[in-house]
C-alpha cells in the first residue's frame, strides 16, 4: 500500500488547533489509515488504493477535519478563469491518449512543497495511473509557457525536443532508447504514436506518459505552476486533476481553470469541481449498518466525511473521490461520519442451523490420530518445491510437472506431485536431531487432469517416514498395516506387489506397490508405494541413515465420504 508522510503539527494547524496531536494520531485509523511509524512530529501512514485523494497530507487533513466536525460537508472550490487554453488536435491523439485536463496555479514552490508534489505525483502515477499506463501527470513552470498549448500526436520519431535532464534537444527515437524514462515507459506507447504537449512557441511541455520537457521544469522558488493530466480514461483524468486542484488550493495556491477545446471544437473548463451524485437510500443504509438513523443524523454523518445530502434521495460527492460506485458505499461513509467507535455490537439472530465439520477433513483427522498413535510426528512442508525436490519425483517427464510463472524464489517453483521428496529433503536438514526420527505429513499433491475445470487435479496424500539405523522394509510395512487397519475402510482389500521403478526414491526389489481392490473381479487401483529408500537417493539428499517410508493416496477412502 502507498505511504504518505504527515506532520502532526501541520495537521493540528489544519484542524485550527482545536484538537491536540495525540487525538489526531488516535483518529488516523478511523478514516482508514494504517500507522506505519511515528517519529516525533512525523507519522508515516499507509492508505488504501481506493482513496487516491489521500496521496497528500492536505487530502488527509481534509477528511480529518471533517471527522472532528471542524469543517464539514463538501469542500467549496471555485476557481477563476486563467490565461491558458489547450487545443486538442483532431488527429491520432484520440487513438492513443485522448483525454487531457489541466490547471494553472499561483504559489511559491518551497522545498517542502516540491517534495510533497513529487511524492503525490509518484503515488498517483503508480495507483490510479497504473504505472502511468492510464494516467500521467506533468508539473510545469507556467511562467515560461505561452498559450495556447497544443495537444497532438506524432508518428515521427525524429521529432526532437529538450527532455527533462538534457542540455540539448534529442529525438523521440533517442529518448525512447537512451533515457531511463524512455526504457521504463515506452511499452505504453507501443503503437508508435507519441502524444506531445507544446506551447505557442513550440516549446515542448511533455511527451506523456514518458517524459517532461526541460524548459518548463519546476524548481524550488518557481512562483506559478501549470499542471497537465493525460489519460486513456475520462473519469480518471477528471478525478486526478480534481485531487491535484484541491490539494494545491488547500496548501494556499490560487488555482485557475484552463480552457480545453476538444477535437470537435467543444470547450470545457478544467478542473471540473462540481460534486458528483449517488442515489441515497436511507433504508438500505440503516439495514446494512443495523441502525435506525433519521435523515438529519445521516446527513450530519455524511457531512463529516466531506460528502453531503442534497435531497432525500441524492448524496453529493466531491470530484476527487472515485470510490463511490453503489448506494451501499454511502453506508460506510455514514458509519465513518457517525464514528465507528460509537457503533456497538448487536446480538446475532437465533438460527436453527447446526454446525458440523467437513466429513472429508474428519476422515483426515482419523488418519492423523492413527499415525500419531503409532508414534509419528507431523511435519508440514510447502506445496511448492524447488528444482531439486522436483527432480526426486518418480515421474521424470518435464511436461508432467506444474510450474508457476515468475516465482520470486527458486525454492518455490513447482507444485509437488508427491510428498516424499520434500519430506525426505527436510529430514536431510535435521540430521543433527536424535534418531530414530519418525515423521509423517498429510497434504495435497497436484497432477495435470483433463477432467478438472482448472486442468489440475488435487489429491490428499499421507507420507510416513522412519529414519533410523534399524529402518527396514519390515519396519515400515508393520507401520503401514497397523495404520491401514486403524484408519482405512476395507483394509482387507489392500495388497502388495514388487515395485521396481529405478527412477523413484525407493530401492528396486526392496519396495512394494500398494493396491486397493475396487471390485470383485480383481480390478484394483495403485494407491501407494512403500519400502526402503535407495542408497542412491539417500546419497543425493545427503542422509547417512537408513530410511524406510510409504506414501499413500487417500482419495479412494476420502471420495466416498
Amino acid at each position: 500500500m502507498p505511504v504518505v508522510e504527515l506532520s502532526l503539527s501541520r495537521l493540528a494547524r489544519y484542524a485550527k488547533n482545536r484538537v491536540n496531536e495525540a487525538e489526531i494520531l488516535d483518529s488516523l485509523p478511523y478514516i482508514g489509515l494504517d500507522i506505519e511509524s511515528v517519529e516525533g512530529d512525523s507519522v508515516r501512514v499507509e492508505y488504501n488504493p481506493n482513496r487516491p485523494d489521500f496521496s497528500s497530507e492536505a487530502g488527509i487533513a481534509r477528511s480529518l477535519v471533517g471527522l472532528f466536525g471542524i469543517e464539514t460537508g463538501i469542500p467549496k472550490y471555485s476557481f477563476p478563469e486563467g490565461p491558458f487554453v489547450i487545443e486538442v488536435d483532431s488527429g491520432e491523439i484520440k487513438n492513443v491518449r485522448p483525454h487531457i485536463r489541466a490547471l494553472s496555479a499561483q504559489i511559491k514552490v518551497s522545498e517542502e512543497l516540491l517534495k510533497q508534489l513529487i511524492a503525490m505525483q509518484e503515488d498517483l502515477h503508480n495507483g490510479i495511473g497504473k504505472k502511468r499506463a492510464e494516467v500521467a501527470i506533468g508539473f510545469h513552470n507556467s511562467s515560461v509557457i505561452r498559450p495556447p498549448v497544443r495537444y497532438f500526436a506524432t508518428r515521427d520519431k525524429s521529432f526532437s525536443f529538450q527532455a527533462l535532464g538534457s542540455i540539448e534537444k534529442s529525438t523521440i527515437e533517442d529518448i525512447l532508447h537512451n533515457t531511463e524514462q524512455g526504457r521504463s515507459y515506452s511499452h505504453i506507447l507501443s503503437q508508435g504514436i507519441f502524444p506531445i504537449l507544446a506551447d505557442a512557441d513550440g516549446t515542448v511541455l511533455s511527451m506523456p506518459p514518458i517524459i517532461n520537457g526541460e524548459i518548463t521544469r519546476v524548481k524550488e522558488g518557481v512562483e506559478s505552476l501549470f499542471v497537465d493530466v493525460t489519460s486513456v480514461s475520462k473519469e480518471n483524468a477528471d478525478t486526478t486533476i480534481a485531487i491535484i486542484a484541491s490539494m494545491l488550493s488547500d496548501v494556499g495556491a490560487q488555482v485557475q481553470t484552463v480552457s480545453i477545446i476538444d477535437n470537435t471544437g467543444q470547450m470545457i473548463k478544467s478542473p471540473e469541481m462540481n460534486p458528483k451524485s449517488m442515489r441515497f437510500d436511507l433504508d438500505l443504509v440503516n439495514a446494512i449498518l443495523g441502525m435506525d438513523l433519521g435523515f438529519d443524523e445521516a446527513k450530519k454523518a455524511l457531512q463529516r466525511t466531506r460528502l453531503d445530502l442534497w435531497a432525500f434521495e441524492e448524496a453529493s460527492i466531491p470530484r476527487y473521490r472515485n470510490d463511490i460506485l453503489h448506494p451501499v458505499d454511502l453506508a460506510e461513509e455514514v458509519a465513518l461520519g457517525y464514528g465507528i467507535r460509537n457503533i456497538t455490537p448487536q446480538r446475532m439472530p437465533k438460527s436453527s442451523l447446526s454446525g458440523r465439520l467437513n466429513p472429508r477433513l474428519c476422515m483426515i483427522d482419523l488418519a492423523i490420530e492413527a499415525i500419531i498413535g503409532l508414534g509419528f510426528t507431523e511435519l508440514m512442508n510447502y506445496s511448492l518445491e524447488g528444482e531439486f525436490e522436483n527432480s526426486l519425483g518418480s515421474d521424470k517427464s518435464s511436461n508432467g510437472c506444474l510450474k508457476v510463472e515468475q516465482t520470486r524464489s527458486k525454492n518455490y517453483e513447482y507444485l509437488r506431485s508427491e510428498l516424499l521428496p520434500t519430506l525426505l529433503t527436510a529430514l536431510s536438514l535435521t540430521s543433527h536431531e536424535e534418531y530414530p526420527q519418525k515423521v509423517f505429513e498429510i497434504g495435497r499433491v497436484f497432477k495435470r487432469s483433463q477432467q478438472s475445470e482448472t486442468g489440475v487435479a488435487e489429491e490428499e496424500h499421507i507420507a510416513v517416514v522412519i529414519a533410523d539405523s534399524e529402518a527396514r522394509y519390515t519396519s515400515i510395512r508393520s507401520v503401514f498395516e497397523a495404520f491401514a487397519k486403524l484408519a482405512l475402510r476395507d483394509s482387507g482389500r489392500i495388497s502388495f506387489s514388487p515395485y521396481r521403478n529405478p527412477s523413484s526414491v525407493f530401492a528396486p526389489g526392496r519396495s512394494a506397490s500398494i493396491s486397493f481392490a475396487i471390485d470383485s473381479r480383481g480390478r484394483s487401483l495403485q494407491v501407494g508405494i512403500m519400502g526402503e529408500i535407495s542408497p542412491a537417493t539417500l546419497e543425493k539428499i545427503g542422509l547417512k541413515i537408513p530410511v524406510s517410508a510409504f506414501e499413500l493416496n487417500l482419495e479412494p477412502w476420502l471420495s466416498k465420504v
Partner: protein
Amino acid sequence: MSSSETEKAPLHPIERTLISALARSGTNPIKIDEIALQSSLSLDQVRRGLEWLRSKKLVEIEEKEERFFSLDIEGKKALTEGLPERKIVRLLQGSGGSALLSELASKIEGFSAGLGRAKQNGWVKVEGERVLLLSNFESEEPEEALIRRIGESGKLSESELSKNEITALQNLQRRPEFITEVRNKQTMVRLKEGVLTTISTTFPEEETIGQITPEVLTTGKWKRFPLRELDVTSPVPRIFPGRRHPLRILMGEVRDIFVSMGFEEIDGSYVQSSFWNFDALFIPQRHPARELQDTFYLKEIQANLDKFASEVRAVKATHENGGSTGSIGWNYNWSEDEARRVVLRTHTTAVTIRYLAEKKPSEARVFTVSKVFRNEKPTYKNNPEFHQVDGVMVSKKLNLRTLMSVITKFYSRLGFEKVKFWPTYFPYTEPSMQTVVYHEKSKRWMELGGMGVFRPEVTAPFGIKNPVLAWGLGLDRLVMLRYNLEDIRQLFGPNLGWIRTISLS
C-alpha cells in the same frame, strides 16, 4: 546421595569401558560421538554412562552450542554477481553516475534493501527520482567480505567470526534468503586429573546384578548376588512422542469454535481460476493484487469456464458497468481470457464465494480453514504459503452490528477479550473493517483480520439476495504469537527439533 557414598559405589561395566576409551586421550577433551566410536557403545549408552561418571566426579562435561552459517540462494547469487548495493554502484558507473530510481528498481532484485545500504555506506544519494553515485564506492563493505569468506569455506561457525563480521552477518540475516543458519550442540568430555591412578583402589570390581532379566528371575541369581544400585538422579535417553503440528492444533481449535457457533465446514481446491479467486469477488482485472509479482499463476494452462457461462456473463457486466446490481461498475473492458488464468488461490474467500454461488442459500453459516499462496520471497515475517480461516453468514436480518458481535465472540473464544474495529478497504466488502485485538502477553494492539458485508456487485450476479457477512484471518501469526516464534519460516519445513519439543501449554 552424599559424596562419600557415591565414591564407594562400584563402577558399571559401561563406566569402565568409557574410562578406558577416555584414557586414550589422556585428560584432553574429546567429542561425545568420538567416544561412542572408540568404545563401540551406542550414543545413548555413552550419554548415560557419562552422566554417572560426572556424578562420581570422574569426568568433566562441557556443552557447547555452535551456530554454523552457510550461503542461501541469494547469498550464493551475491557471491557471483555481487550484492544489490554493488549492482547499483555498477549500473550507476555504467550510466554516467546517475539513474532513475524506477529504472534501477526494475533491473535489480532486492533493490530497496540494496539502496538503503548503499546510502548508509555513503556510496550514493537520492535526489528526487534519481540516484547519484558519490565517492568511496570502491571500498568493500563488511557484508561483501563476509559473503566472500563464507563462500570460500562453505560454512563458518560463530566462533570463527570477528565482532564486525557478526554485525555484518546480522545485517545479512535481515535480508531474505542470504544466509542459512544451523545450530549444532557439541558435548566435550575429559577425564579428571588423577582418575586413572585412584580408580582401581576406589572402585573394586565385584559381581552384581545390573538388570533384572528373565534369566535372573528363572535361575534365582538375584538371591545370590546384590542388585546394583541405580543413580536415579542421572539423565535418561530422550524419547519423543508422536504429535500434531502446532498449526494443526490451532486449526483444530478454530474449527471447534466455528462448529460451536453453528457453522458448517467446507473445503475447496488450492488451484482456482482467476474467475473465482478474483473476478467473482469484484476485484478488477487491473488490480495490483492480480499482478505476477503478487500472485502465483500456473504456466501453460487455462481454466475452462464453460459450465459457468451465465455467471461469467453476469460478472462481466458487473465489472464493466454494474450490470443489474445498481452499481456503476469499474468501467473497463472485462476479458474472459484473463479470468481463465489459473492461480494458486490468494485467499480462502475463493472457496466461500464458490459455495455461495453454487448453493445460493437464503440462510447459511459456513467456514473453511486452509492454505493460501502469495508470490513473495520468504522473510522472517512473510512466507509464500500461509493459512487462513474464512467465515461467511447469510441471513435476512444481518448487518454490520451483528457482524461486530459475531467477530467479538469469535475472537474472545480464541482468547482475545478486547477487540476494536478500524475501517479499511477490500474490493468485495462494504463496509470493510479490520479487526484489531489486544494481545495481553505483549501488551499491544495488533491487526489480526478483515471483515465486511459482501457488496451487491459480489452477491447479486449469483442470485444471492440476503446480506452476507464475511471475515477472515491469518493463522500463522497466531501460532507464532502463541509459541514466541520470531521467524515465520521456522513454522514449516525442517523443524523437527522444534516440533518434537515445543510445550503446548
